[in-house]
Symmetry: C2
Subunit: 332 residues, 2 copies
Amino acid sequence: MNLEQVARRAKVSTATVSRVLNNASVVKTSTRARVLKAIEELKYHPNLHARNLAGGKSRTFGMILSNLENPFFFDIYKTVESDAHNAGYEVVVANTDYRAEQLVSSIRLMIGRRVAGLAAIVSEMEPALIEELNESGIPVVFYDVGAPRQNVTNIRVNYRRGIEKILDYLYSLGHRNLGFVGHHAMLGPLNERARAVIDAAARYPDTAVRTAADADTLDGGRLATRALLATGETPTAIVCVNDVMAVGVLRELRERGIRVPQDVSVTGFDNIKLSEFCHPALTTVHIPRERIGHLVADALLAKTDKATVAEHEMVIDPEFVLRDSTGRAPGH
Amino acid sequence: MNLEQVARRAKVSTATVSRVLNNASVVKTSTRARVLKAIEELKYHPNLHARNLAGGKSRTFGMILSNLENPFFFDIYKTVESDAHNAGYEVVVANTDYRAEQLVSSIRLMIGRRVAGLAAIVSEMEPALIEELNESGIPVVFYDVGAPRQNVTNIRVNYRRGIEKILDYLYSLGHRNLGFVGHHAMLGPLNERARAVIDAAARYPDTAVRTAADADTLDGGRLATRALLATGETPTAIVCVNDVMAVGVLRELRERGIRVPQDVSVTGFDNIKLSEFCHPALTTVHIPRERIGHLVADALLAKTDKATVAEHEMVIDPEFVLRDSTGRAPGH
DNA sequence: TGACATACTGAAACCGTTTCCAGAGCCGAT
DNA sequence: ATCGGCTCTGGAAACGGTTTCAGTATGTCA
């Protein structure tokens, strides 16, 4: 089951077997055939660990995401993986579930694997970790995490603009009493979004916003809505941190006999496929996940090919998508 | 950045460093402290490839799934990963997108990685591959794939029973004109489900069933519905191969002004979370994905711990779940 | 016929760990 | 003082590949 056995059977040296395996350098056709036959007969599968160790190079990227269950992350993963495959790379993923400890151990694991590049599409991230990654010399791409620095590409979305577009629209429809449904992540984009909502609301007269948070799932959206409505006062519009939670919100409202959008308007964020398929279809903000995926993949590939050490940052401006879950505030 | 450097700095041998790293055998407290300090200072991360190579054991499981995007697969993955983690194992996933070629290369990759165990939750699977896996000596768990044999655990769901429960119910409501929406996978459970629908329908008098297939996505469900309705004749009930596609079906029907369940009944399969959150909530069949996940994890863990070589097969009987997407056939 | 480039192939060093086997101290008992 | 038995540590051989460097045919050309 190892090179030597194959070599012996084909009556060549391990060097030659290695050569045909990597079709590097020239091997006489007859020899190659003998080797291939031996490989076939012995059902030989090269040991990737040995390969990586000897070769020093890794041909696989690591990818760390906050919540693969949310199509937002999954879509990015999918396009990165596809691009990587086309370039002959593998991708191994890790899920943090928004937990910082998970992030730490995932990053350690990736460094241990000596991945050829690492994409971190997470909202939780400590400077110490970034430092650690930097020392490791692994090319890194961050999505939405603070520090652009050497050997690190940073891709971010202008959430603030997205939120502002939503609030502008809601305000124009007469909504003054807002609810915000977020998830439990402590750092990064969520807070940016939450803060953006609060900041934006503060710019309009007579506009109040109450917030609730729960897990980043359908159920989380539902539970957050319950919390929001538990106080007795019902907002005329509920702004959600993303589409998944918004669908949970829709469900809870429907169950309570609250009509959307006649009684309450609901907005999502991300524009995942599901936002068109739920009922009513969600008014939301489009985040170009495929484009982000391509950017991530390009950055990874570029960094590994040449030793480009350009610290790059790119910002994406999201687009408002009007659908059926929003309408005039009651009595307006 | 390798053991030797750490050893040198701590003025010990690499053997000792290795010992503290794995806290195997006894190391004097003062020595251990010196080593740990050196590791810390050098920001040393052990090379997993070298470790696996030298140690011979792999501490990671492989998992291959047909479509991670579908929560059915994702839920299984999630619980396997969680169980594995608790036992100190990693999991690396691969997605086949129902493509046989992908399956082949993924399996090869896993063998190359010398994973400690492999779970294949896929519907496409050739005997030759199973053979190849068998030769590799890797403990394998299959979900829904034919051959129970040595070193292979097989977990399956009695789809036929599930489908029968659905058809019984629909028949009792007066439905005689059925549509079946499936996805493109050629082998295994889909066909089993499709055949089950056809067989079951054949047992009722005056009952006809037309089928359409598309991708296993929300869009796929929508497109399949269009195909189904393109003929002009509309079935009174549409049975779907799974919940995801059913949600796509709901969307298309709503768009055409066809009411569910008044005009057409719709059923799903799997009972993913989304099936309660869509509107109307789906009548479906529950497949215990968590339980399956635990079974998979247990099998993997058991096989690696002791050299249990029991070929095991277990069959799961699914349960009917009544919700709001089904009703009496029009005029009944 | 001899010199020399060319096309293949093999021996051996190395990649970064783990692990086996001995050896070095040290202590208490004889 | 000698000895047996601990405790701790180091040397060196794997693990399964890649890669460099040198060597052996073989063919070409003067």
